[in-house]
Structure formats: structure tokens, C-alpha cells
């Protein structure tokens, strides 16, 4: 086993139903699988019957890195998170101060502030200035709303990812049924164009 393989194996994690950080339920009668955060009270149900907590999943996954999750799910690069962390408890700060503190160009800070507004993690307000015109102010949304938006946003992203995996499984299944003697990879990836 190479060093790379060893590191990958060391990093992998498996679902631990006893951890209570999250739960995965499945329906005993169909393919429905759900992820739940928080309490199992009342239990998840499907077809009117309680779903069962998954206890026998063998697959291991690479633990997510929060920076990569923010980038993949919300298109938010590390710089955006840096800006949020830089300002918490210190505001009001000027965009120039944030830029100097983080070593970014001011235009970069403005771009990511607007990106955070687009994602829904910040709000932008316009305040009047004494000499005329307006000053842009970027501020947090309500924390409870932010929690809800980011969690639901991530679930939407996870749902899209899960749909892709299901599509891949179906594609593989169909191909193998139609072409039992041929190699799978080429046709398989052709069904998922890069763009």
C-alpha cells in the first residue's frame, strides 16, 4: 500500500449510528433514504410506517473539509469566510481595513461581500452620506435565519449530489444489461458531460 493510499485510508470515516450527530434512515419497502439532523421524535416515516435507522453501511467516506463544503455547495471560497471571521466582533470596519487585515485587494473584498449577499449570508443596505450619494453597508442576516438558510441550502446541494449518484447507478445498471460483454467506463462518463 502506498503512502497516499495509507493517508486516504486513515482519513476515511464510516457512518456511526451511535454518534447522534446525524441519523440516516431507510425505508424497508422502497429505496427511500433520508438524512436527519436533530431529534428522531417522532421517527421518520415512509408509506405511513416508521423508517429504520441504517446500521449496516460498510462504505467509508472522506470526511468533509468545511472550506471545501462552502466552496462546493455555495461557491464561497475561503476568502469569503475569512471576511466573515475577520469582522465578527470587530465591526464596523471599512472595506479597506478588512482588505489590509487579510492581505486582499479592496476590490476583492467588495466582490466577496457581494457574493455573500448573493448567497444569502449577508445583507446589503444603503446609507445616505452627508456629501450626497450612498454608502454600502454589509451586515449579517438574523443568525437563526442564517442557520436555516445554510442548512437547507446544503441539503439542496446534497440532494442534487444524491440524484447524480442515483443517475450514475441507473446508468451503470442499464449499460451492463444492454452491453454485458463491453467495457463500462467510456459510455458511462459520456452520459455525464464535463460541462
Amino acid at each position: 500500500m502506498s503512502e497516499h493510499d495509507t493517508n486516504e485510508a486513515a482519513e476515511a470515516v464510516q457512518y456511526d449510528p451511535s454518534s447522534s450527530r446525524y441519523d440516516v434512515f431507510e425505508c424497508p419497502d422502497c429505496d427511500n433514504v433520508v438524512l436527519a439532523l436533530g431529534r428522531d421524535d417522532p421517527p421518520m416515516s415512509c408509506h405511513g410506517d416508521p423508517m429504520q435507522r441504517v446500521t449496516d453501511c460498510d462504505i467509508a467516506v472522506k470526511p468533509p473539509d468545511v472550506r471545501q463544503v462552502l466552496l462546493d455547495a455555495f461557491g464561497l471560497p475561503k476568502a469569503g469566510l475569512d471576511i466573515c471571521l475577520c469582522v465578527i466582533g470587530e465591526g464596523p470596519l471599512s472595506a479597506n481595513e478588512v482588505a489590509e487585515s487579510l492581505g486582499y485587494d479592496r476590490s476583492t473584498v467588495t466582490r466577496y461581500l457581494n457574493k455573500l449577499v448573493d448567497i444569502g449570508l449577508l445583507r446589503r443596505s444603503e446609507l445616505n452620506r452627508e456629501e450626497g450619494g450612498v454608502v454600502n453597508v454589509y451586515h449579517s442576516v438574523d443568525l437563526e435565519r442564517m442557520r436555516r438558510e445554510t442548512l437547507i441550502g446544503f441539503y439542496i446541494w446534497a440532494g442534487e449530489a444524491a440524484a447524480l449518484i442515483e443517475e450514475a447507478n441507473v446508468t451503470k445498471q442499464d449499460y451492463m444489461a444492454e452491453n454485458p460483454d463491453q467495457e463500462l467506463p467510456e459510455v458511462f462518463w459520456e452520459s455525464f458531460p464535463d460541462d
Binding site: 469582522v87 466582533g89 479597506n96 479592496r106 445616505n128 452620506r129
Partner: protein
Amino acid sequence: MSVTRRDVLEELDRQSDASAGEPTSVESLTDALVVDERTVRKHIDGLESCELADLDTDGQVRITVTGEELLALDLDEMIVVDPEGG
């Protein structure tokens, strides 16, 4: 006791008035906040860069219209002011 930049802005709002152009002194802010003058001046410089405070040539300082409007938003957290982005 440490004070935040927002503490200084709120005290400035109590002691000065933008529309009337009524300033206060750094010493008065220092006394009210029970903190050293250097700290208050540092925060005022920051507030000026955000166009939330105006320091005149006599060393008198007042909140600006922008500063009053910012406080009226009653925000909890995470504030970046971008005067050049308006």
C-alpha cells in the same frame, strides 16, 4: 475595561448630533467610556474611515448622518462599510 468600536459610535451618538452639526470632545468620550484616550482615538480613526464619524481640525468629533443611520438599523453583528462601493 475594553470598548468596541461600536461602543464608541453609540457614545458618540449620545454626545453629538449630525443634523445640528453638534460635536463633542475626545476627552468627553474618554470619560464616559472610562477608557484611555489612545483607544478612543484609534476607534474614532476607524469610524472616520467608515464615514461614520467626522473629526474636525479643532479635534472636535461628531457622528455623521451615515453613522446615525447605521445605528438606526439596530444590527447585531458583522458590519463592513464600503464608502467607495456606493
